[in-house]
């Protein structure tokens, strides 16, 4: 492949004069990573790729998470679009595939047995009908990160929080002890939707979600989804969140947790690491002060306690990108780089052998949780597609703000799902 590329370049040089040979192929890579430590590793990978592939330049661009989601549709339609973009798979990816704005990279991925090195479930998330459109980079799980000191101060034993009622009890105890129980980035809305959706995962399990997709049992207005709203409201009524939570963006909230100002945060497992970068002192909470417990179960719920909510994140290659983009991506999603990222606690690897890099008890625990999960639900706001997913976020924020009843919230999602846009 590389040889062919060089040959092509040589031919082009002959045809068009020497100047062209000097022109680099630029691979534009758009990311949303806020953790400078991780970006640094990526840059090193990019530079080393450039060193071994003369004539290719990897150019990194950054957009903030929310801005990225809002701009993605327009980004994909500009002629100067980036070649490699971030993705959470799911319905958003499906829309993009159908719109024909992504490059089908199946051949390149399958060649040389490369595809077999990647965890099949993770690769499947970036494929449709056997065609591959992107490569996964990491898995993640949603659960509670807690601050051991504050839990101790509030006299709460986190290992005893197993059910939803336990969580409510812990919130009450913490509040009584003058500790802010939970911090959340409510302005971004999606951190709030974790509560609503993880409750739905616990209450209804996989069958409820599948049924809702088919419009059975009242769809998303059905009992499972009304009940998850009601349980969420039980929590909201305790006022468990930090003052002004609806005005906090997620990075602020994670920083607040890293500053040791709140006992818990319903987190994506990667927050374990990002809280350091986002804390005011850039140090955050050290490992011995951090704990994790899985999202509490709901008694009588149909979901398995081992079911997980989380992300399958990865990278897509946009239509008409140079083949160096795919080549670089394969270089980037490789055992070595994965192990290196895992060692930095940035990812739960998706390439076989990458898990060898995991070196903290925390990351190993998350990897184990994901390995034993039979039902890994992708984030709703991604799996339901761009517009329905946003409504899930909207109504979660509305329930949290007290401006919408759980019943109306469920109906609003179902209405949006029926509008199917």
């Amino acid at each position: 492949m590389r040889l062919l590329g060089k040959l092509g370049l040589a031919v082009a040089a002959c045809l068009l004069g020497a100047n062209v040979a000097a022109a680099d192929t630029v691979v534009k890579w758009l990311h949303i990573e806020v953790n400078p430590a991780q970006v640094k590793v990526w840059e090193e990978v990019a530079r080393s790729y450039e060193a071994s592939h003369p004539g290719v330049k990897v150019e990194m661009q950054f957009l903030e998470n929310e801005a990225y989601k809002a701009k993605l549709p327009t980004i994909l339609q500009s002629k100067d679009r980036p070649n490699i973009i971030y993705s959470w798979a799911g319905g958003v990816l499906k829309t993009q595939i159908e719109a024909g704005v992504l490059e089908d990279i199946t051949d390149s991925v399958k060649s040389g047995g490369y595809g077999d090195t990647i965890a099949p479930a993770a690769l499947a998330a970036f494929s449709q009908n056997g065609h591959v459109f992107g490569l996964p980079i990491s898995l993640s799980q949603v659960g509670f990160l807690y601050n051991k000191d504050l839990m101790a101060k509030g006299n709460v034993d986190p290992s005893k929080i197993k059910t939803w009622d336990d969580l409510l009890g812990a919130v009450k105890t913490l509040k009584a002890a003058g500790v802010t129980p939970i911090v959340v980035g409510g302005a971004d809305k999606w951190p709030l939707h974790f509560y609503w959706t993880h409750l739905a995962v616990r209450i209804g399990g996989k069958p409820a979600f599948d049924a809702a997709l088919k419009g059975e049992n009242g769809g998303f207005a059905g009992e499972t989804f009304q009940k998850s709203g009601e349980l969420f409201k039980q929590l909201v009524d305790l006022q468990p969140f930090q003052n002004g939570f609806l005005g906090f963006k997620n990075p602020q909230a994670v920083g607040y947790f890293g500053d040791g100002k709140a006992a818990m945060i319903l987190a994506i497992s990667s927050f374990y690491h990002t809280q350091r970068a986002l804390a005011a002192d850039k140090v955050g909470l050290s490992d011995d002060k951090l704990g994790w417990f899985d999202f509490p179960v709901v008694p009588g719920g149909k979901g398995e306690p081992s079911d997980t909510l989380g992300g399958i994140t990865g990278w897509l290659v946009t239509k008409d990108s140079p083949k160096e983009a795919v080549d670089f991506l394969k270089y980037f999603i490789s055992k070595d780089v994965q192990a290196r990222l895992a060692a930095g606690n940035f990812v739960i690897p998706v390439v076989k052998g990458g898990e060898a890099g995991l070196n903290t008890a925390f990351m190993k625990q998350i990897a184990a949780n994901l390995a034993k999960s039979n039902y890994h639900q992708n984030f709703y706001d991604q799996s339901l597609g761009p517009s329905v997913g946003r409504v899930v976020n909207d109504v979660s924020a509305e329930i949290a703000g007290g401006s919408m009843s759980p019943q109306d919230a469920a109906k609003a999602i179902e209405a949006a799902y029926k509008q199917g846009n």
């Binding site: 806020v34 950054f62 957009l63 903030e64 801005a67 002629k79 679009r81 602020q252 920083g255 005011a280």
Partner: protein, 282 residues
């Protein structure tokens, strides 16, 4: 304004009331601006305990870091390019149209002018989605022109009206005489109308410039590459990156509004005249 009877006594309570009232409003206006300027000189820790006083220790570093970063200058450069494009095109296109409406009599003239003034009726935002699709189809997405051309189009209505009103005041006899002497309309436009109209051109240019310089929605929708971002977009990205580091954000805000304030102080006459021009007739 419940000032009592007119009395010119030295200690008029009305004067006192007036001074107090103006003082309060002045504080209301000044405090946010000064807090922003001074906040940029503080450390984050000091900002929290002392958001409004003078800094106990002046952190020149905040400002210096921004001024020495390529980012700040790139944002200003992009804004300058877009605004300059918009102003230049608006002045050229609008003055040509205004000249025609002012001096050339033709069938449908008033109808066409009314058509153009439709643009005053609604904000650009109403049709921003189709506008986006249009700009995309023209292949102008993510280019300076993708922002500048719609901005020109939306500033045309106002500009043509203002220019035409001024052009009409140029004595008709002048044009007539020139035409008789064999001067063409175009030459007349170039050598008589435009030089005579400098004040109104400056005014229209200023309004267009300020609007374009401050614009947010159109660049937000049309631009994707941060290398092309004008400063309102860039500052929002900056704020997203440094979410709670207010001392840096405040320094950045101060530096980005500085050009506007300098321009305002230099050209207040044109700005005030321009921005209130549509309002006061004659």
């Amino acid at each position: 304004m419940n000032s009592a009877e007119t009395s010119r006594a030295p200690f008029d309570p009305a004067v006192l009331f007036k001074a107090a009232f103006l003082g309060i409003v002045a504080i209301f206006v000044l405090v946010p601006l000064l807090a922003t300027l001074l906040g940029g000189f503080k450390s984050l820790g000091e900002l929290r305990v002392n958001p409004f006083g003078l800094p106990s220790h002046w952190e020149w570093q905040n400002y210096a870091d921004i001024l020495f970063s390529g980012r700040y200058w790139q944002l200003l450069r992009n804004s300058l390019i877009i605004s300059t494009l918009t102003v230049t095109l608006t002045l050229i296109v609008a003055s040509m149209a205004a000249f025609t409406f002012a001096h050339v009599r033709f069938f449908g003239s008033s109808m066409l002018l009314s058509y153009l003034t439709l643009g005053l009726l609604f904000p650009a935002a109403t049709a921003v989605l189709p506008l986006f699709i249009k700009v995309r189809d023209l292949g102008l997405l993510d280019t300076y022109f993708g922002v500048a051309l719609p901005q020109v189009a939306f500033s045309l209505a106002m500009s043509v009206l203002l220019l035409r009103r001024f052009f009409k005041d140029i004595p008709y006899e002048l044009l007539e005489a020139a035409l008789v002497d064999g001067c063409s309309y175009i030459k007349f436009f170039r050598y008589v109308t435009l030089p005579l109209s400098r004040p109104i051109l400056a005014t229209v240019g200023t309004i267009t410039f300020v609007n374009s310089w401050n614009a947010y929605l159109l660049p937000l929708v049309m631009l994707n590459t941060d290398a092309l971002y004008p400063w309102p977009l860039g500052i929002m990205v900056y704020q997203g990156e440094y979410s709670s580091e207010w001392h840096l954000i405040l320094a950045f805000i101060t530096l980005t509004i500085l050009p506007t304030i300098i321009l305002f102080l230099l050209a207040q006459k044109h700005i005030v005249a321009g921005l209130t021009a549509g309002a006061v007739k004659g």
